[in-house]
Symmetry: C2
Subunit: 327 residues, 2 copies
């Protein structure tokens, strides 16, 4: 049977596990041109909140990025046993009509789960936000929130490769130790304390680049500490997805600092994957970028894995493995 995680109703407040229910269907059979994928790794991403609030159809499985293996195929482009990734769903098996939007994964590049983490959209997001929008230069101070997370952990390491002094914040002392000791950031502070104090302590020369994953009062505290010519890359605003908070009071500093703030969506940048993949693969192989995945197991774990990630219980990219990895 095929177990699936269904969006049962729209949230009217925080995202909770009871928004979802399970159902079971038969394992799909491919019609002409179709591909059936046995899903292995399901993604849990912060951006899903907005889609759950307004876009995803109620009563359907939740659409996410998945790495899997071709279980059955009536499509010559995808032989059984091929490792692929695509926008499939929180389910054990996915029917992909015509094999559309499936991409073959090259297992020689690293763990196949990387296709939806450091070698996929989260990694490319870090790359575009840090290198193209942030553009840190040697000696500059680069600050990233959610520094232990799927994107922030890479964003900071890329800025360090560019010569910047890299400061992160994360949701616990244990995460901060991970960020400095494993990811080699110059400093990391616990965001559960006053963020302004953390920035004053760890960014004494002000902030040149901010890679923003959280928005809200953290962004406002950064605005108050911008250096001339500062760049802010808006990747996420997770603190505001459910409650908007108090509003930003320090936008005047965009003028004082002649700063630039850019919101970006990785879907405008997917054409950069061919140039990104070999660069990131080499950084990983050389140990210049360390990537950690936080993998839960079993389809029944999905709602809790997702909601827990939103609450910050993950260390690195949150995935759920729902069947054996053949590689």
């Amino acid at each position: 049977m095929n177990s699936r995680v269904i969006l049962d109703r729209r949230p009217d407040g925080p995202i909770t596990t009871d928004l979802f229910r399970f159902d079971e269907t038969t394992i799909p059979e491919p019609g002409p041109g179709d591909v059936v994928v046995r899903n292995i790794y399901l993604s849990c991403d912060p951006y899903l909140v907005g889609r759950i609030q307004t876009v995803f159809p109620v009563g359907e499985p939740v659409a996410v990025r998945v790495v899997g293996v071709v279980e059955a195929s009536a499509n010559p482009d995808f032989a059984a046993g091929t490792i692929v990734w695509g926008f499939l769903a929180w389910e054990e098996y996915s029917l992909v009509p015509g094999g559309r939007a499936l991409t073959v994964v090259d297992p020689s590049l690293g763990p196949i789960s990387h296709a939806i983490s450091v070698l996929g959209m989260p990694g490319l997001t870090a790359y575009v936000g840090s290198m193209e929008l942030g553009r840190p230069t040697p000696g500059e101070t680069f600050y990233v929130s959610s520094a232990a997370g799927a994107v922030g952990s890479v964003a900071g390491q890329l800025a360090r490769l560019a010569g910047a002094r890299v400061v992160g914040s994360a949701g616990s002392a244990a995460k901060c130790s991970h960020v400095t000791d494993v990811l080699n950031f110059d400093a990391c502070f616990d965001r559960t304390g006053p963020v302004g104090d953390g920035l004053d302590q760890h960014c004494p020369d002000g902030i040149d680049v901010y890679f923003d994953n959280v928005g809200g009062s953290t962004l406002d505290a950064v605005l108050a500490r911008l250096n001339p010519g500062a760049r802010i890359a808006i990747c996420g605003q997770i603190s505001t997805y459910v409650e908007r908070g108090d509003g930003l009071r320090n936008i005047m500093n965009m003028l004082r600092a002649r700063a630039t703030m850019t919101g970006f969506s990785i879907y405008d940048h997917t054409h950069k994957l061919p140039t990104f993949l070999p660069r990131m693969s080499k950084w990983l192989a050389d140990g210049d970028v360390v990537y950690v995945e936080d993998i839960r197991h079993g389809i029944e774990a999905v709602p809790d894995a997702f909601v827990g990630m939103l609450d910050g219980d993950n260390l690195g990219k949150r995935l759920v493995q729902v069947s054996p990895d053949p590689t």
Copy 2:
């Protein structure tokens, strides 16, 4: 005698005329290399608020841009009778040690007052903000606040030359008529009503470029209506200079719209004057840009002219003429 407007104390709230006092000194005499300028046009600019709050020395004349004529000179570069502009002060005569930072004005380019208005920093500010940061393209919607003001009036006309649909807001129905009838904007609405309603009515297709002179709730209303790829040029935030207001709640839309917001200071762009001046002179000569100056008379009018401008009683660039214009 030389009448001067002195900053008497720092404000602890709104900018009022009683922050200033007058004094009289003797007309200065040039020492070796010095130039004495008889001031003709004194500028009144919104950006002075921040300097009055924190920078300008109490007990000294207020430093502003001035157009004048060389009254006495001990400097071979500046003959008596030469029209010049520079950072002088709210006073009738200025002593310029060594003639430093004086620029000769070419009266053939237009009224000499233009050297501190449309052919000076306000015009260059509009040019950089509209053309380099806003980059409107044909068919896009370009919105500018303070559309009847010294900078906004030019910003909108340049966007119209670039083919955009140009919408302004201003502080009265009379100003709005001026903006549409004289400055040829496509639309203008009275900002004393709900700004969101004005934007909904006049920007039904959303906003592609916002040239921001006011910040605050107007900026927040724009954020809620950004089109994909929108650009926001932060030129001024006059609504927040004294009271910060409620804070911005719609920054999330920077992400949704993949928008860019850039604060800029014209002092980073003064090297562009040589390319700007002939272009703007031609636009003015051809009638493509119409520029209006709102000129008060007499040094004693300065405090009221400045405070009134902050309250929006001006139509176009506010200047005070304090001696006869020989051209």
